[in-house]
Amino acid sequence: MSTAATTGEEVLVVEDLTVSFPTDDGLVQAVRGVSYRLREREILGIVGESGSGKSVTSMAIMGLLPRSARITGSIRFRGQELVGLRESGLNKLRGSKIAMIFQDPMTSLNPVHTVGYQVAEAILAHNDVSKAQARRRAVELLDTVGVPNAGQRVDSYPYELSGGVRQRVVIAIAMANKPDVIIADEPTTALDVTVQAQVLDALRTAQQETGAAMVLITHDLGVVAGQADRVLVMYAGKPVEIGDVEDIYYRPRMPYTLGLLGSVPRLDASRSQRLLPILGSPPSLVNLPAGCPFTPRCPIAQDRCEREEPPLVTVTSHPHRAACHFSQDLAGVRPHDLFTSTSADARTEDHPGRPSAGEPTGEGDLP
C-alpha cells in the first residue's frame, strides 16, 4: 500500500524479490532479495554475469516463470501487486503495459507468420481496431524503429530478414501498445557488434516514442554506459551495487563492480595495460554458504566476509548503495589497484621490454 504521491512517478517497484527453483540437488536460489524502483521514463541497467539472476528477475515481473518457481516478495506495477496475480490479470498487463524484448531475435519471432502480422497481432491483442488499421500502424512502427522499406518488409517472414532488422521488429512489437515499462533482456547480445549500436538507437527511439521506463538487462557495460540512467549490479542473485551511471562507473564501491570495470577493454587505455580478469567463477546457487558470495574471488576479502553477508547500504550520496563491508575504504580505488592479472598465461605473454609509459595510475577516468 503506497500513497498516490509516491506511486505517481514510480511505475515499477520491486521489493525483496526472491525466486527459487526446487531441483534434485536442492533449492536453487536464483534471486535472493532484489529491490529496485523504476520511475517513469527512466532507464535502469541491470548488469551481472550469467546466472546472477538478471533474467529471472525480469521473467518474474512478466509472470513467465515456470510454475515450479517459488516467488516471494513484492512486484508492484503502478501500485498493483503482480506476485500471485492470476493469469488473466497478467494477460491484461503483458504487452499492453509491460512489454518484453528477448535476447535472440532469431527465435523470438514466429517463423511461420510475416513480421507485419506479428506486429499487428500485438496491436490487435489489446486494442479494438480493424485489421487494416493494425497493419497500417505496424508499417508505421516498423518505420519508426528504422526497418528500411517498411512498406515492403511488413510482408516479409522473419527468415528473410537479418538479425538486426529482426530485433527492430521485436522492438516494434514491444512498443506497439505504448507500454509503461519495457524490459529488454540482453537485446544486443545475439547481434553482431556492427548492428548493436543501430539496435540500441532503435531501442532508445522506442523508449522515447512510448515514454516508457526501461529495464535494460545486459552484461555489456558499454551498452549500459551509453543508455542507462541508473545501474544495478547483480551477483549471485543479489544486487551488490546500485546507483547513477556516474557513481557506478567513476566511484564504484564494491570489489565486484570494480572487477567488472577492469575487465572491459578501453580505447584510451595504454597498450601495455592488460585486461583484468576476475579469477574464479560465480558460486553455485544451491546451498550458498553464509557470508558474502563474492568472498572467494575478492582481493580484499577478510574473515568477516566469510561470516556475514553485507547488506546493501548507502555509501556517499543517497541513491548510491553498495553491499560491501569495506565500501568506505574503496573510495577512489581503481580496478588496477585491486585486481592484478596473475593468471599463468597472462604472465607468459607479458612484454617486459615495452616502455611503461602508461602506468595504471596515469589513466584517465572511465568513459
Binding site: M62, N91, S108, P111, H113, T114, E121, A125
Partner: protein, 322 residues
Amino acid sequence: MPSTQPEEDHGPRAVRVTPTRGVSARPAGQDREFTVEARSQGRLILRRFLRHKLAVASLVVFVAVVLFAFAGATLWHYSYDQLTPDISAPPSLRHPFGTDSTGIDLMAMVMRGTQRSLEIALFVALAATCVGTVYGAIAGYYRGVSDTLMMRFVDLVLTFPTIAVAAILGAQVGTSAGSWFFIGIILAALTWPIVARVVRGSVLSLREKEFIEAARALGARDRRIIFGHLVPNVMGPVIVSVTILVAAAILSETGLSFIGFGVRPPDTSLGLLVSQAQTAVSTRPWLFYFPGAFIILIVLSINFIGDGLRDAFDPTQTRVRS
C-alpha cells in the same frame, strides 16, 4: 534508364552501385532503383513445389485420376450398374478396361470405385487431421496430468486393430446408401491418434521456443498461442501425416471392402472390385489389374505430393533441390 544518381553526398556506395537489374524499363524513383522485386510467400511456395519434379508429376497424375473418376463418369456412355450384352469381354475400344461376368463395363466401375475411395480417403484425412491436430496441440501445450490422460487414451485407441474394429462396426451399419460415409467416420475415429501423436511431439518442443514465450509476454491467451502460433508451426509434419493418412485410408477401405465389410454392392469401390476379381486373376486378369493399378496410382501420387508440399511449405527450409 533515368540517371538518378545524386550529385551530392551519398557516399561512394551510391555512386558505385549501378543498377544491375537495369533491364527493367520501369522509370524507378530514387529509392526504387536498388530494390529487388519482392516475391510473395505464395509464389515462393509454388516455386519450391514446382522444383520438386516427382511431386509435380504426381500432382498431374492425381488430378488426372480425379478428373477421370468424377468428370469421366458423367461423360462415359456406360454406368457402373448398367448391364451390357458383352459378357467377360477383354479390353477393347468399346470397353477399354473390359467387362465383368455380368457384362458391366469395368471402366465405369473403376470410375465409380475411385470416386468412393477418394471420398472416403479425403474425409478420413480431413476429419482425423482436424481432431488429431487440436487434440495433440492441447495435450502437448498443457503437458502434465491432462497430457498424460489424453495420451493414454490415444495409446488405447491405437491398440485397436483398425481392420477388425472397422469390420465389426461396419457390419452394424449395414448396406445403406450412405455407408461409405460411415466407413469414413469409423476409419477417422481409428486413425486420428496418429496425427495427435505427431502434433503433440512437435508442440512439446515448439512450446519451449522463445517466440511462444514472447507471445505470452505480449498477453496472448492459451487459445491464441495454440491456434495462432503452435498449430501453424506444425503444419509441416501434419501435411506429411495427412498424405500418409490418405494413403492409409485408401488401403484400409480397400482392405475392408475386400473382406466384405466396406462398401457393398450395388455400390462399388476399388477394394470391392479387386476382391470380386480375385477368382478371375488368371482367366480375366483385366478385372484385377485395372482397379489394382488405380489403387497404386492414387496412393503413390498422394505420397509424393505430400513430400513436395512438406518441402514447399516449410519456410525454414533453405536446402535447394536441384
